[in-house]
Amino acid sequence: MTEADTCTTEDSLSRALAGESAAFTALVRKHQCLVYSLGLRMLSDRHKAEDLAQDVFLQLHRSLASIESAAHLSFWLRKVTINRAIDRLRREPRYEALLLQEGVYLGSDASDDDPLLQRRLRDLVGRLPPAPRAVVLLRYQEDLDPTEIARSLSMPINTVKSHLKRSLAILRPAAARPAQLRNLTLPLARNGQ
């Protein structure tokens, strides 16, 4: 977030607190990507993600007085979105680990932007258990470092690092050559945790 963005958000925040609905709409517009995308990647469903994102913004509207700054707003939105998503996932039926098709290479050989590979990676991230999934999303979608992730998820930093390491070990074969893909399973997804 640039300094100008921060100023704009601070301004919108104070005007929204004063009751100006247009300022709150500006806040929604500015942060809807963050909230919706986290919801989408956590829940792997557009409708559920939209529903979740709306609930988060309604909660923000009620809790606006407790938001202290633009940085606090982003922190609050990430935390509330992830917590709500994890709550929803806990209420849903558990899912089993899937066996990737043997010998199918999901990426192309030499490309910087490979839609098939990206889709497969998103799919795999969506099959990680909720906590490691949240860690991976905050790391790669929100570009947070492990310390910030630990703070956002109220999790020890070593747990964050361990989730990242294990998740990357699971995701790595998806970007690998066909020979490395044989009999790949996703053991973490079995217990929903």
């Binding site: 990507c33 989408l40 990676l121 991230v125 970007a175």
Partner: protein, 113 residues
């Protein structure tokens, strides 16, 4: 390999904009909310109002207690005054009888002679 995976993950997990319609739906839902719940009172003001209310209730209780005590003191003073008047009345009555008896001592003797 790690950098490649990092880059691919960054690309794969790029943020998605839900669009302007999403913004409209959020603002519509907020508009449907009752007015009183739209903007909550800041926590500091909430504590202040709780403190003021507690203070008012305590002051009312203390005032009520003082009034009761004052009333009881008044009743006690009244009881003591009545008692004092009763004792004074008895003493005056006794004194009256003594004076009256002293004023007519002979009447009894004369009548006896």
């Amino acid at each position: 390999m790690t950098n490649n995976l990092d880059d691919e993950l960054h690309r794969a997990l790029r943020a998605v904009d839900p669009g302007e319609e999403f913004t409209l739906r959020v603002t519509e839902r907020i508009a449907q909310q009752p007015m009183h719940s739209r903007y909550s009172v800041p926590p500091a003001y909430r504590w202040l109002s709780v403190a003021v209310l507690t203070g008012i209730v305590l002051a009312a209780l203390i005032a009520h207690d003082q009034r009761l005590r004052h009333e009881q003191q008044g009743l006690e003073a009244r009881r003591q005054l009545i008692e004092a008047l009763r004792v004074t009345g008895e003493k005056l009555d006794l004194a009256y009888r003594v004076v009256n008896d002293d004023a007519h001592p002979a009447s009894g003797e004369n009548s006896g002679a």
